[in-house]
């Protein structure tokens, strides 16, 4: 079981979301984050004085999947998040010890993402 954590542009989220839904990965979380990297900051001018802002807004996408699905999900993210410009973001993959579904108490890979029949409905 792995967790994929991607820092992406806001506008790339919607296409990634649609592709992951189609592939049967509906379970994910996002948060609005601010961070810095190689992307340059912006300068605000307020009544003649300057204020430079280095932390730029990004979307953090988190998605936990079975190990054999990691490449599929990462590929979907890379495909839609890449514009070729600095500021496209980064993807991290990390191991996860265990996963539980709270409603039923079951654990293991079957708690991740949609059941196959649900995924089939989503793609149909």
């Amino acid at each position: 079981v792995k967790k994929i954590e991607a820092y992406i542009r806001h506008e790339s989220f919607e296409p990634i979301r649609m592709e992951l839904l189609g592939l049967g990965f509906p379970s994910l979380s996002i948060s609005e984050v601010k961070g810095s990297g190689r992307q340059k900051g912006i300068t605000e001018r307020y009544r003649g004085a300057e204020l430079t802002n280095w932390l730029r807004p990004k979307v953090k996408l988190e998605c936990v999947v079975a190990s054999q699905d990691v490449q599929t999900v990462v590929d979907a993210i890379l495909k839609h998040a890449r514009t070729g410009q600095i500021g496209d973001g980064k993807v991290f993959v990390m191991p996860v010890e265990e996963a539980y579904r709270i409603r039923t108490g079951e654990s293991g890979e079957e708690t991740l993402q949609a059941h196959p029949e649900v995924a089939a409905q989503a793609t149909a």
Partner: protein
């Protein structure tokens, strides 16, 4: 060379403006001799108070548009309203007022720079019904021009270049609005020869503004993300319904200057009747709009409640001096019903973030036509324009005059506006880039945010020096927003 000619022209204009005129001396001399009639003072006070109420409507437009914009586009509205209001004042003083209210069937020709017009009763014949000072009348009519101009821009929020506001404002306040409004209520041919009734400007102010809005919108296009891949419209919610509501209520208040002030005097007491008619129509408009919104969507939409008030106020603007009080709630209710239906229909094809095409356009048309139905014989005779409406005399004559006026004004304003925006599009351009639109017009057009705390993380807003190793701030190109450059 061009620059020197421009400076010389500006100098000539200023010299002409500061040369001693005769206008301001008129009332002063009369007052000194103890011969200023009381009616001049009383009428001037009312016209000036009405003008101030209409001027306050600029705050209404500002808050309405700010509320309907996303937070990243809130500040630019403030700069736009102030800039446009100021351009309109100078242009209307220089030529606009003379074109709009000077004598003449097609275009007025007295009172450029509000001077050397001689006897005001002859220079501005249509306003001779009141002896209020010409300065109070100027301020009142200028505030109308500024309202009409403000209506143009609500449709263009969140994607238009700031320069477009400036360029079109000059053409609009100096030529388009003055000429078209001259025909309708400045003593021009539609009023004098056709007998078109428009008491305070359903057509002359609101339809003109909405027509300019349509002309720019057709060339500007929708905001990014407004229409999905399937072509269906998506909601782009504005960031503050409370500010929107404040804007609506300020506009509503301002309308008590707009309609009752169009009596241009207080001596006959008519202005209080017009105020009553205005209030009743607006109330019915809100109720009509929320009822239709509830019926069509299952909820009482906050924006529709506000737009219902605006739509009804626009509709009652033309008939406010021509109809009896009983007709006002009917006219307002129908406008309130038009508002949601118009907004839903228009939203499927063109992106009008504030619903101005419906509230000012469709309701302006309805209000103008309503004169042809509800105008009472007594008030038509009292105002000495046109005749009674359909329900009184069974004749479609007045309705036909109203329709002719609407079509003429729409065609004139649309043609000139479309050409102006086309020229702007081919030279400086109408739209900001996609990157600037994503970043928001506050930062792209003005280099600052309307709500800094919302966009700049708190640790950076404290304002210590940049992190070590970062590029000094001055190397950031002006206007750079999402343009990425490696450090």
């Amino acid at each position: 060379m061009r620059r020197r000619t421009g400076v010389a022209l500006l100098g000539a204009v200023l010299a002409y403006a500061v040369l001693p005129g005769v206008a301001l001396a008129d009332t002063k001399d009369a007052a000194a001799a103890g011969a200023l009639p009381d009616s001049v003072a009383i009428n001037s006070v009312w016209v000036l108070v009405a003008a101030l109420l209409v001027i306050f409507m600029q705050a209404g437009f500002a808050f309405l548009e700010i509320g309907f914009s996303r937070a990243k586009n809130a500040g630019t509205v403030v700069a736009k309203i102030l800039t446009n209001f100021s351009i309109a004042a100078i242009a209307y003083w220089a030529v606009g007022f003379a074109f709009a209210f000077g004598a003449g069937a097609i275009i007025g020709h007295d009172g450029f720079f509000l001077r050397d017009y001689g006897d005001p009763q002859q220079a501005f014949p249509i306003m001779g019904l009141s002896d209020a000072t010409i300065e109070s009348k100027w301020l009142f009519q200028f505030s109308f021009c500024a309202v009409s101009l403000a209506i143009v821009w609500g449709t263009t929020l969140e994607r238009i270049k700031f320069a477009v506001y400036i360029l079109y404002a000059i053409v609009f306040a100096a030529f388009i609005y003055p000429i078209a409004s001259h025909w309708v209520f400045g003593g021009g041919w539609l009023q004098s020869n056709v007998g078109m009734q428009d008491f305070a400007g359903s057509t002359a102010v609101h339809l003109i503004g909405a027509t300019g809005a349509l002309a720019v919108l057709l060339q500007l296009g929708a905001r990014r993300g407004k229409y999905g891949a399937d072509g269906k419209p998506r909601a782009i919610p504005g960031h503050s319904m409370p500010l929107f509501g404040l804007g609506v209520l300020i506009l509503w208040l301002g309308w008590f200057g707009f309609n009752p002030g169009s009596t241009l005097g207080a001596m006959d007491g008519r202005f209080t009747e017009v105020a009553l008619v205005t209030m009743l129509a607006a109330a019915a408009g809100v109720l009509g709009a929320i009822a239709v919104a509830r019926w069509k969507t299952g909820t009482i939409d906050i924006g529709m409640a506000g737009n219902g008030a605006i739509g009804a106020l626009v509709a009652i603007t033309a008939p406010s001096g021509y109809v009896e009080a009983w007709a006002a709630p009917i006219i307002g209710l129908i406008a309130g019903i038009i508002v949601p239906l118009g907004v839903y229909a228009i939203d499927r094809y063109i992106d009008d973030p504030v619903g101005a095409l419906t509230a000012h356009g469709l309701c302006g048309v309805w209000g103008t036509l309503a004169c042809g139905i509800f105008t009472s014989p007594g008030l038509a005779a009292y105002n000495a324009v046109g005749q009674a409406g359909l329900i009184y005399n069974g004749s479609f004559h007045q309705l036909g005059s109203q329709a002719l006026g609407i079509v003429t004004v729409f065609a004139f304003v649309f043609t000139l506006s479309y050409a102006t925006f086309y020229a702007i599009k081919k030279t400086v351009g109408l739209r900001v880039t996609a990157e600037e639109e994503d970043a928001g017009l506050d930062i792209s057009e003005h280099g600052m945010y309307g709500y800094p705390e919302q966009f700049i993380p708190a640790p950076e807003l404290i304002g210590y020096s940049p992190a070590p190793g970062m590029v000094p701030a001055r190397e950031t190109p002006r206007g750079a927003t999402t343009k990425e450059v490696p450090v």
